[in-house]
Symmetry: D2
Subunit: 430 residues, 4 copies
Amino acid sequence: MILRDPVHGLVAFESEEEAVVEALLGAVEVQRLRRIRQLGLTALAYPGADHTRFAHAIGAAFVMKLLIARLRSIQDTLPFWQRITTERARDALAAALLHDVGHGPFSHLFEEALPGTPRHEEWTARIILDPSTEVHRTLAKFDPYMPGRVAELVRGRHELTFLARSVSGTFDVDRCDYLLRDAYATGVSYGTFDLDWLLRSLRFGVASVSGAVPPLAVDGPRGLPAIESFILARLFMFQQVYFHKASRSSEWMLITIFRRVRALLEDGTRLPGVPKALESLIRKGDAALDDYLALDDCWLLVALDAWRSVKDPVLSDLTTRLHTRRLFKTFELYGNFAGRAARQTLLERARQVATAHGVDADVYVGLDAVSDVPFDDREDSLAVIFPDGKPSKPGDVSFLLGRLRGQALERARLIFPVELRDAIIAELAL
Amino acid sequence: MILRDPVHGLVAFESEEEAVVEALLGAVEVQRLRRIRQLGLTALAYPGADHTRFAHAIGAAFVMKLLIARLRSIQDTLPFWQRITTERARDALAAALLHDVGHGPFSHLFEEALPGTPRHEEWTARIILDPSTEVHRTLAKFDPYMPGRVAELVRGRHELTFLARSVSGTFDVDRCDYLLRDAYATGVSYGTFDLDWLLRSLRFGVASVSGAVPPLAVDGPRGLPAIESFILARLFMFQQVYFHKASRSSEWMLITIFRRVRALLEDGTRLPGVPKALESLIRKGDAALDDYLALDDCWLLVALDAWRSVKDPVLSDLTTRLHTRRLFKTFELYGNFAGRAARQTLLERARQVATAHGVDADVYVGLDAVSDVPFDDREDSLAVIFPDGKPSKPGDVSFLLGRLRGQALERARLIFPVELRDAIIAELAL
Amino acid sequence: MILRDPVHGLVAFESEEEAVVEALLGAVEVQRLRRIRQLGLTALAYPGADHTRFAHAIGAAFVMKLLIARLRSIQDTLPFWQRITTERARDALAAALLHDVGHGPFSHLFEEALPGTPRHEEWTARIILDPSTEVHRTLAKFDPYMPGRVAELVRGRHELTFLARSVSGTFDVDRCDYLLRDAYATGVSYGTFDLDWLLRSLRFGVASVSGAVPPLAVDGPRGLPAIESFILARLFMFQQVYFHKASRSSEWMLITIFRRVRALLEDGTRLPGVPKALESLIRKGDAALDDYLALDDCWLLVALDAWRSVKDPVLSDLTTRLHTRRLFKTFELYGNFAGRAARQTLLERARQVATAHGVDADVYVGLDAVSDVPFDDREDSLAVIFPDGKPSKPGDVSFLLGRLRGQALERARLIFPVELRDAIIAELAL
Amino acid sequence: MILRDPVHGLVAFESEEEAVVEALLGAVEVQRLRRIRQLGLTALAYPGADHTRFAHAIGAAFVMKLLIARLRSIQDTLPFWQRITTERARDALAAALLHDVGHGPFSHLFEEALPGTPRHEEWTARIILDPSTEVHRTLAKFDPYMPGRVAELVRGRHELTFLARSVSGTFDVDRCDYLLRDAYATGVSYGTFDLDWLLRSLRFGVASVSGAVPPLAVDGPRGLPAIESFILARLFMFQQVYFHKASRSSEWMLITIFRRVRALLEDGTRLPGVPKALESLIRKGDAALDDYLALDDCWLLVALDAWRSVKDPVLSDLTTRLHTRRLFKTFELYGNFAGRAARQTLLERARQVATAHGVDADVYVGLDAVSDVPFDDREDSLAVIFPDGKPSKPGDVSFLLGRLRGQALERARLIFPVELRDAIIAELAL
């Protein structure tokens, strides 16, 4: 099969080992990803961000194909048992394609909204391992042990650690694809990096013990700018997109809606458009796989629409605001305001304002605090190998990365409805 | 307001006259476009093609903003009454944003599937003119006559014909945006053209009668390549995307599904997930505006999913195939096979094969014939004005366009399920 | 070796067979291409067009590398003797890199200015075959017969005709690179095409005689748009760049300057800055290879500068105009004016105007007529192979190419100094 | 005038105040920039880097045009006397176009090679102020005081400090253009930044004293990523291009060549191809403006070629190596080796190796140490203005810039001919 992808251009899977990709694309659980947006509600902030998990899954498999080609071009120095065989390549391609197959509606949002229920990694494993799924049967047709191996790989476990980490690690094929794809769809141009150079600069490092599997490394200083631009692309995407105030606000609203639905259901209220899986997740903390797979963005959007007319005024109000993009406002906490204690004080004062205005502070006022460490090589990362063979940590040899190492990027924001904005800002200015 | 668009980069609407754009984006009928894909089922062929009518609407308004700026920079030669006032600019921006607000689920597909019901242009007019809509009320707040004027503009009527044609004409802002956006989302790189040069090369032509409104023209030969690349971009997009076999096949399947639903409903069969508007459209040929606006891609996808389990074997089969992307196959008719009579003969033979295999030919075999004339300036088009002031038709002075003028691009394909492929091809090869 | 190219991105030549590229780049005759602009005087029209033959030579070798990889992935169907061996690959890479090594200052301009002297193809062959050059010695070190084989390949002769035509044919690596590179440097964005798809769609056609070498073909209809966009890219580049009035005018001036230098030298006038090779070419129609290789853009620009102060008023005037970009004006002949007879009449009338103004018409008035056939597959071109194995000519199956086939793009212009413009235009308007 | 630029797309200068750009482009001193490469010898490392100062000059003027448009859209809050009048706009456009008109052959290289002679800024001032130049006469035709004002602006002096700093400051039009242009030509994709957003986010800050001219600031946090990406683009270009080992090595060779030429001339040796200006600069430390303007890349390349055959073995050897790109090798000093004292010790040891091999260490061994501070806002930079009107330093509010502030990027390398490589590396490894 061959197709045109806006991010990678010509994408072909044609060799014998690549046939697994085409076979898996025919599975209903993979086709379901067409109905799950990669970036949840981010399209409310970036109108182009309607791309799906399906396109990303193909992209990740394609990056794996490129990576496998690179690994094969440098594996002469490895003993035979450490090389990429046809079987290992097939497993890796399948794992790359399936790494996110368990995502619920609006991707990460769904599991954040339902704490205590299985996370998407767990659903992914179930989909791969459950004999009833088309994904499982497709893999098992290649080899009965393949589902098990692929599930392990997706969890980041493989005897070739470098292969495991290419599915789940700092520079894995998932990140390589989603950074480029999210940047492309949102138009945030500085969210890109040089994938070709990054792949090209890969080489094998030195095994910790003689005979052990060597880690992947980059050829420095040539490979260093490729790593730097990758880390920066990620940093920019967090600053500009993933932590964007409208994304965060809408996600916060959705989570609040789910919390409300949960409370109503627990109270015995009947709500329209609640599918089996949701009810089950809320009541029992888990759901049947079949039912879970029936959930997708469309189901959720239709349900949100239906809940606009329920009797519960809170649920009706919140869903109406979200449906018509009347998002809650945010007030970002900088400097002295951003400390942990200060935040709580400010939240408390905002809640009091709400109460004074007759608004339920538990539902309508919140604090959203997110954090990411864009780069840290102290525990683990690609080493940089110099011409003399000596490996270094990227942060030790990169001007830029040395300064970013271990530093946390944080954003804290108060969240509240527009009608409280003036009052809350006035209160906080005191 | 200012936002980042992957196609146009920085998109800002900040002046007083542009405030209408932000106001309209808050209307629920415009927000609904977030749930209507620009290219229907094309994502089945191009995995990136999940962009929505909402992003396109903003893009069209932005191109209008650029166009207005250009018109103002050249309008010194016009009498005052022919110039772009603030009011006209506001009307034009609103018309550009709203030109497609009446589209149903999956855009053009919906109206093709329900012949005899109002087309999207009619729904657009209703949305603008009906006093109950937020769109109407937003416009009327600016000026009570504004809804009427905008509706006229969307229909391509305005005293300044050049303004009318910029909303609906050969080089209108709709096309300017959708060509670039569809190319961007699908990755079909040759579907682009040079919008900056096209706008920059615009000038006013010579009015047919002294005192009349002059038509727009391009400054030639500088503007000619911009027109050529626009026409070619459109031609390539038709060949590569709009007439793509998987797009056409899936659209044909959807239309067949609708026809089946119609038949079942007329028979009195009860089906799940059929909204009021659809039932009404099928039974009475029309629907209430409110009900129509409740339709979007999500509703349709959820309904298709629900119909997979109905008793009717045909509806159940077709929806299952579409849901899992088991698309009908196509056999393209070239050369001698493509003539009108030959096509019918071939269709008849394919139908007989189906019947011989116990398959209902009325449902499972079809002929899809589409046609587009990429360029024709014999009736109307931008004139090219030479340094000596003489206007020419583009086809008279362009090497390329002279050869394309009036030529029809056609595609004819037999459509049938995969299980009939070998038998039908064998039959046709006889 | 690995380098960063603005057109192709990461360019690497690292395998054993590719070592020839790095070796040849060290040859002084190849380094000389750094001082020869790819597009002659075109930078006078497009300020970005300062790229050199050196960058293009590397680019052509890189496209050859991509082509070889594609050929190897499809050559299983060929008998062993028709496959791409290491030796053939090395020859092809060398031929791609060296195909234009014989160009003189400002590329094509130099040979046009000196009719009757060896053309650049001849100089290329001499450089490859003359045992005194570093190019020759580098090739001979690989294999004493290699210079001869490479020279043949550059001439388009090889037992594998598809390899020969990839060095010199309708879709050769030279064109593939220069179209992309010239478009990149000038910013003429529609001068691009989809190289990846063009390469990817290549397959072997059917040999004319059983056992003969099959021609290359493209897999249609998938490959058709790639061919179409290639042909159109070329057409656009001719219209926009290669036939641009300022390029043509400056080239016409340079040719006139050379003609004057020739006349002066033949008269025995001594001029500064005339290198041996030029004198010899003018006097004897040929030059020693060593002397020829001393010529480059810099030498020519320095000489033009020096000639500004010679006594001959014509040479001094023309070089001063060119040095300060006071280019001759052009008057394009369209429609009735463009016919062969009409042109001569108009030229005659323009010459009379010049004479009436006391200007030497032989030097200062000219007619520049250029022509190119963007597409013609009647004699030879890539065939398009359909799923059923039937080959067709592209023009028979492409909507676009069918309409362009054999059509000539022509431009005819009168050329004259700015001070005659008004008088000549007045005369022609009569 | 309107032209196509590969970096900025459509570049037009058409208004009355912009006419100065077209007028100045006709000046012989500006046309001379066509023969001066922007990046000196960098094309030896990046084959695409043959772009000229001429294209950059136009680009800088175009960025100024964009900046002026932005300033005008926000200047309502300024008193009338602080606004951009037609005259000020014209001065600023001229200053942007002319800011580097005084550069010598290979730009910065020439002045580095001739310490003690006037720097390019001084030559720029002379060209603008000397009544004999076409540049001067062109400006004076607009207004006799214009040359003086433009010269002041180029030096970064103007009553509107924000205008002065846009010609010469941290975010001046020079940098804005050269970063984008150098990135485009070399293909170093991460050397780009978002010019549109940077311009769009500009606003006026708060004047230090009431009534004083306010500084420019950016609207934060929206403008922050634009500044960050600008700073990073610059950092990447330094790391990847400006400090590239092949660029540095070739520049070091050229400087050594100049030093040798100087020594030979001072000894009374006669050398071919030495123009008046060079002789004068070497002997007297200065040259006549006319003579200086005769210098360009071509003259220098022709001279280097001529010097290959002089008797002096050192000059002949060095020029031959440079001509055929047999560049000196570099050994980068990291970590402990990079300290100031360590460097000198290593240099001394490398010199001893050279001497032991009978090579003149003064000529053939060198230490190249370069340094740049990518970002420092402690003295001066754009402030970031928050919604509440409070200005902050970028480093105080940017996660990234806070970590880069004041940090120096350094590169130190030993430089030596290839034949000493093994011996020197062996010695240093001890």
